[in-house]
Structure formats: structure tokens, C-alpha cells
Amino acid sequence: MNTMKWLLKREYWEHKGGFLWAPIVVAAFIGLLSIGSMLFGTVAGNNKGMFHANGSDFTSLQHALSSVSEADKTAFATGLASGYPAIAVPVMITLGFVVFFYCLGNLFDERKDRSILFWKSLPVSDRDTVASKAMTALLVAPVIALTVSLALALLVVLTLMVLAAINGFNLFGAVFGHTGFYLTFVQTLAFLPVYALWALPTVGYLMFVSSWAKSKPFLWAVGVPVIGGVILSWVNMLADSPFDLEKYWLLVARGLGSVFPGSWISAFSDNPDVHVDAGNAMNMLLSASYELLASANLWLGAAIGIAFLFGAIKMRRYRDEG
């Protein structure tokens, strides 16, 4: 009997709307918008229109495309091959919101509707329950969002290539022949462990508030740090600025915002010697992300997140629902 499997399924069933449908709806919107404009562009372009390419004006899309040099074509294919997942950024931002509100509610809602009395009648420990909810936030939801993102990115890039090919601009060889195309796919998935570790403090903090708050977990989770900041600013105004407010707000942002994928780029160290271009952007981003594994910021945050989760387990164990 695999209890954890069923606990994860249970979370997925309950929150299918957020974990599955929200990314799909956003992806469908982006897909329709981008594919629609591509179609519009090609259709309009072949009827009448002016195109500007390589310093000359053309009257049709086909002419314009055929004038593109081999070198430009390669550069374009490289950019496409290594950057195509970028179109799914809104999907990943959606994931941030979904995970944020999921964590804020996952231990609060069951107390509010008293269904905790049913869950607690099953021989499942509080530790396993809290662990399943944290794993859902840190792994299940991101895996689904990433899958949807990559499906969207592939769909859009394929549509683009097909439309380009119809108009005499064949990119298939250049893109599919580019190792970057396949590498990018794997690299996108490789962000997952960094996300899980980076998001831990926010997930832990929100779940702790969720397990503790008697009402309005959002106000507690967000309001308390904000009011704290306001008080500190007052003190700074009255006294001789004893607090470093910038650091305080950075800390608050780290605590509340780390569920947003890519929020860790704020922790990258500046490296002015590196030249970033379309071809190596993904490499740079991934290696810089993994360099965070050597930073105190990431591990300290993860440790604090785990401490909060232990707190949530204790709260769930003994919170009297009256």
C-alpha cells in the first residue's frame, strides 16, 4: 500500500483547477494569440503589404523571406532552438500564483470546512499529510506546469516553422539539426530541483500560516511582514534610521515571492565578463542557477522552509478545532 501516492493524488484531485487547468488555459491563450497572429501575418503578407528586411523593402512575405541570408537564417534558427520555451513564461508565472495560494489554503481550508475531521480519521500521520502537500507544491505542480509550457512552446515553434516553410523559408533542418533544440528541452526540466529548493522557504512559511491562522491566512501571511515594514519605516523616520529597510524588503520578497519560478535570478552574482547571446542564454541561466546550490541563501532558505513545515506538522497535530 502506497499511502504517499494516494495523498498526492488526493491533492491533485482537489486542486486540478489550479494545477492543470490554469496552466492549460494560459497556454491556450498564448497559443491562440501567437499562432493567430502568425497566421494573420502570413495571410496578410501574401496579399498586399510592405516588408522590411535587410535594408530593402519587399512587397510580399515570400520575397522578404527569400532575401534572408544563410548567416541570418542560422542565427534565427539558433535563437529559436535555444529560446523557444521563453514563450511559456506566463504559464510559469501562473504557476507561482497557483502554488502561493495553494500553500496558503492547504492546511487552512480543511480546518475551515472541518473536513480535517475526516482526514484525521484515516491512519495517515500529520507528517505524511504535510509532506504530501509540500511535495505537491514543490514538485507535482511545477512538473505539470513545465509539461504544459513545453507542449505550448513546441506547438508554437512547429507552427512557426510550418508557416515559414510554406512561404519558402525552411527552418526544419536548421532547428532540428541544432543540438540546442533538444538540450533546451532537457535544460528547462533541469530547473525543477532549483525551483523546489528555492521555493521551500515560501512554501514552508505559507503552509505554517495556513496551519496556524484562525481566519484570513492571506492577511496574516502578507499583512504581518508589510505592517512590520511600515513600523520599521516609522522608526527609521523618527530615530536616526537604525534599520536597513532595503534588506528588510529583500527578505520579505524572498520569504513571500520564492514560489515564482526564476525569482532566484535576483540572487545571481554579477559577472560582467560574460557575454550572453541567444545561443548561450539558456546555458548561462542554468549554470548560474545551479551555482546557487553553493550559496548560503539557498540552503538557509531551504532549512528555514523545512523548519516551518515541522511547525505546520505540530500545528496540525494539536490544533483544536473546537
Binding site: M1, N2, T3, K5, W6, L7, K9, R10, W13, E14, E110, D113, R114, S115, I116, L117, F118, W119, K120, S121, L122, P123, V124, S125, R317, Y318, D320, E321
Partner: protein, 285 residues
Amino acid sequence: MSSVLTARSLSKHYGKQAAVDRINLDIAPGRIIGLIGPNGSGKTTTLKAALGLIPFEGELKVLGFDPRTERDDLMKDVCFIADVAVLPRWIRVREALDIVEGTHPKFNRSKALAYLAKTKLKPEMKVKEMSKGMIVQLHLAIVMSIDAKILVLDEPTLGLDILYRKQFYQNLLEEYFDENKTIIVTTHQVEEIEHILTDLIFIREGKITLNTTMDEIAERFTEVMVNSENYAAAKALAPIDERSVFGKTVFLFDGVERSTLAALGDTKNPGIADLFVATMKGTYA
């Protein structure tokens, strides 16, 4: 066989107020115990302590486990319905069965399906689409399909109509209960469960005021309907309660020989409800 539940000096305080006040309790297996008390008397608190849902003071063992530290083991053999309609609203019948089957080693799915076949519930139905009575049917079907040693029911039928309530207790008695199981039930609808109980515990202001078997109650307590000419004689035997009905007086006696009382008027066994009202007088005063 030894007790399935033992409490020694069990207490629970909310602030300075004692919700449960040094209770001693032994519950034998194979019994159906009614835990009866007014609102706020400490019934639910006692049960919550036994189910490991709240911390408490004193000693409490359920099936040999301490609910505070060994809850995870305890819950394999203890099942409960605490309050009505606590099934999560989003869940479908099928999903609920899947999860219980996946997490409870003593759940028998085919049994649950057999119970559900007798209701209007369908596998794809969501709890939020069900009436309160249907939710209880689902919950009961799940609970009855778990081979637990102790089943705790805290106001399981509150707010249900009489048809659902009757059916609930009938199912429980006919299809679930056996000599290896113990059922502890609290309810305000005492009359409805009186015939299924084997034991009765009255609780008032955190203390147990009566703890006896139903057989003993029949022996111990007698109700007599007395004409006015016998009023003084009856009064002399120290009744625990009196009330007037159609110009006659109904007395309730504790531990007075029935033959003695028969001379004063018609005797009968008191209902739990009358006993309850008599012993709980002044609770809200």
C-alpha cells in the same frame, strides 16, 4: 477481555475552565455505549482526547495506545465520525473510496460498494451535490467497511430527518456491530438510540454522573404513577424526580424495590430521556 479504553483522572482545561474534570472510565469490548450529556458537558472533549485530536492531562489508554504519542498506530483500529457532513465537498464517491482504500489497511471496498448500492449515491457524484443525509450515508458506508475495533460517533445524525436517523442506527446495529467491536456514541436524540445501547454514561460539567449498563438501569430505576392519596407515602421513599401528569404524579426512584413501589401505583421502566432530564436538573440554572 480487558478494557478497550481506560481513563484515569483524565482532565482537559480550556483556560481555567475544566471541560473534563478528572474522569475515570473503563470501557469493555463488544459494547455499545451511549455518552449522554447536555451541551458543553465535556462529551466531545472526552472523545477528542481519546481520538488523539487534542492534548489532555491524566492517563488515557485506547487499545493500549496513548492517543497523544501513538496516534498513528491507534488510528488503524479506531474509526470515527465526528460531527455531520465533514466529508470534503470537492470529493467524488469514487475518489473517497479510492483514497480510503489506498490509505486504510482494514478497508473493504466491496463492502462499501454493497452499502452504497442500497442508496441513491453514484460513483461520480460529488459531496457538494449531496444532501446532508446522503453525505452521512456515504460516510457511514465508508466507516462500516473498515474493520475497526472501536467506532466513535459524535452526533453522527445531527440535523438529519427521522428516516435517515432510523436507517443509520439500524444499519449500524444489523450490519456492523459484533462482539469484537465497541461503539461509543453521543447524541441528543437519546430516545432513538436507547434500544441499541448496552451501556449508558451520563456526563455533566466534566464529570461522570452515571455509568451503568442498560440492564442495571432497568433494575435500579423505577417510575411510578401515583394518585394524590399516595403522594406523601411516595415522597417518603425519597424519589429523585417528580412531575405531574393529568392530576397524577410521576415519581422516579433510584434503588427502591419495585414491589414496594407497586403498592403505590403503576410502575414502569423509565426512558433514558426522563432519567437524563431528572439527573441533569439545574444544569443551565
